[in-house]
Amino acid sequence: MGLRRRYLPLAGLLAAVIGVQLAASATNSTFYLTQLTMAAYYCLVIIGLCLLMGYAGQISLGHAGFFAIGGYLSAALTSHNFTAVSDTLLMRTLDRAGLLLHHQSLYGDSLLSLQPWLAFFIAIGVAVLIAFVLGIPVLKLKGHYLAMATLGFGIIIYRIVLAAEFFGEADGISEVPPFQLMPGLAVSGDFSARVQNYYIAWALLLFGLLLLLNLINSRMGRALRAIHGSEEAAEAIGINTARAKLYTFVISAAFAAVAGSLLTHFNGGIGPSEASVMKSVRYVAIVAVGGMANLWGAMAMGIILNFMSLRGMFGSYDDAVFGGVLLLIMLFAPQGILSLRLKNILWAKRPMTGK
């Protein structure tokens, strides 16, 4: 019974996604699809963070760090030249397994880099591992302490990508090759592949949303909400709160890393601003605007705000807009912007029942 209510909106969203593409193609405005593709990837980070913040009740001010781990590792491993170390046992084994790519630079030098799939799995694996190792001590913290610890993690990642030559320092990494998912389907920023990439990103987002919707309506989802309510009560009925929080943290980090990896291939590069604290705050802001414990709200706001931001509608006030939005929402509608409107509508519709 609940299943139809859970899946029907997803079908509606899918129809809207197709509708937007058809409309954009028909009106010759497919350039909108580029921003919608990027927004979809950012949304993947946001719904993952929504699970962590809204449902498990744990704030993370370091999610841009996980996005950056995914993006930077994918970028570095697929675009660096590993010819110098091609003789090592590891590289030879990888080569024999067909996981390396041989190609030539513009000047005819031979280049050797990792297959994007391999780089992808390494990037996600590293992000998951870091989330796991970091999460064990960090998630014991609460409130300010948790906020500062995750913020600290984010800043460390930012400093590393900014200082390490391997990650291109202040310039970041560019000329990241396309990610051939399967023959005929690649994540790339090619103009000709616009429509295809729009569907890849949205299919992934829909799938991610489906997974999380299932999760929050399950035994583990209830457990997470219980932890949010009262950890003491959750423990008393046998929920291993430390483990549940840790797994949620890892899942949400994995969502961020997947988005980071694919968006980097789509953009063809990544820069240090993707790892900045401001990006993390932006993700938190969008989850807050969407209503914290509201996956659909987070998704809707993620698409709208990211699309507007990517279209440059906020101009040089981009960060200020997100800071302001965050502040206003927390001041006047901590339950999210949707709750506000819904409540007002109900209020207006209810007839005055004076006694």
């Binding site: 997974l211 209830r222 309510g229 959750a234 423990e235 008393a236 009925i237 899942i251």
Partner: protein, 255 residues
């Protein structure tokens, strides 16, 4: 069932629990009473694993449990309610009780995310069992109401249903009658004896003397963290030391 041996708890310089020993026999109702600040709730928290003991032993079903996390103790078959009811905000009464089935079900994160057939079958069973418990406690009609918006007595019932949903062998009740009127208290008394008759051992902390005297098989009296008496209700009422430190005090207060 449950055995405490020489349990001590210090908070800095404060000796909150001072060498308390007692045992709870299977299938009995045992009550813990004492004046305010006697260390009853602290002792409860020690048993449930919320606070670590400073020294001494606590065994549950023959196993030492001090140092265990609360969720492990719960998984062993000990469940509890709270003095200030802790229901989950934003969840219906039914969902709150379904939460109690957590340790009796198994779907993990991955299975849940993929919503495998096994997962939704299990989910259906959880819902079914939770509904049964709501019926048992006479609050089935509120199943779909948000739990925290219910009346106080109904919230207590939901919390008790949630504790029962874990299928405990020992149920810890922290002041189950606080905030209830005399009718509701009588209802709770009936309920507790019914739970005992289902084969569940009960340990409760309570202020309401009439409730304690009516339903308990045995009573432990605490004062300033130490046990001063342990006996059957009739004997406790006659115990001079108890009358002096506890009942005497309440009489003076009510006089």
């Amino acid at each position: 069932m449950l055995e405490l041996y020489s349990v001590h708890k210090y908070f800095g310089g404060l000796h909150a629990v001072d060498g308390v020993s007692f045992r709870v026999a299977p299938g009995s109702i045992k009550a813990l009473i004492g004046p305010n600040g006697a260390g009853k709730t602290t002792l409860f928290n020690l048993i449930a694993g919320v606070l670590p003991v400073s020294s001494g032993n606590i065994t549950f079903k023959g196993r030492q449990i001090q140092g265990f996390k609360p969720h492990r103790i719960a998984a062993l078959g000990m469940s509890r309610t709270f003095q200030n009811i802790k229901l989950c905000h934003g969840m219906t009464a039914l969902e709150n009780v379904m939460l109690g089935r957590h340790i009796r079900s198994s779907a993990g994160l991955l299975a849940a995310m993929l919503n495998l057939p096994r997962t939704w079958r299990e989910e259906r069973d959880i819902r079914h069992r939770a509904m049964e418990l709501l019926e048992l406690l006479g609050i089935a009609e509120f199943a779909e109401v948000e739990a925290t918006s219910l009346a106080f007595g109904q919230q207590r019932a939901v919390e008790m249903a949630r504790a029962l949903a874990t299928e405990p062998e020992l149920l810890l009740l922290d002041e189950p009658a606080s905030g209830l009127n005399i009718y509701e208290t009588a209802e709770v008394a009936r309920l507790i004896t019914r739970i005992r008759d289902m084969g569940i051992t009960v340990l409760l902390v309570e202020h309401d003397m009439s409730l304690v005297m009516d339903i308990s098989d045995e009573i432990v009296v605490l004062s300033f963290g130490a046990k001063i008496a342990e006996d059957r209700p009739e004997a406790i009422q006659k115990n001079p030391e108890v009358i002096r430190t506890y009942l005497g005090e309440t009489e003076e207060a009510s006089a």
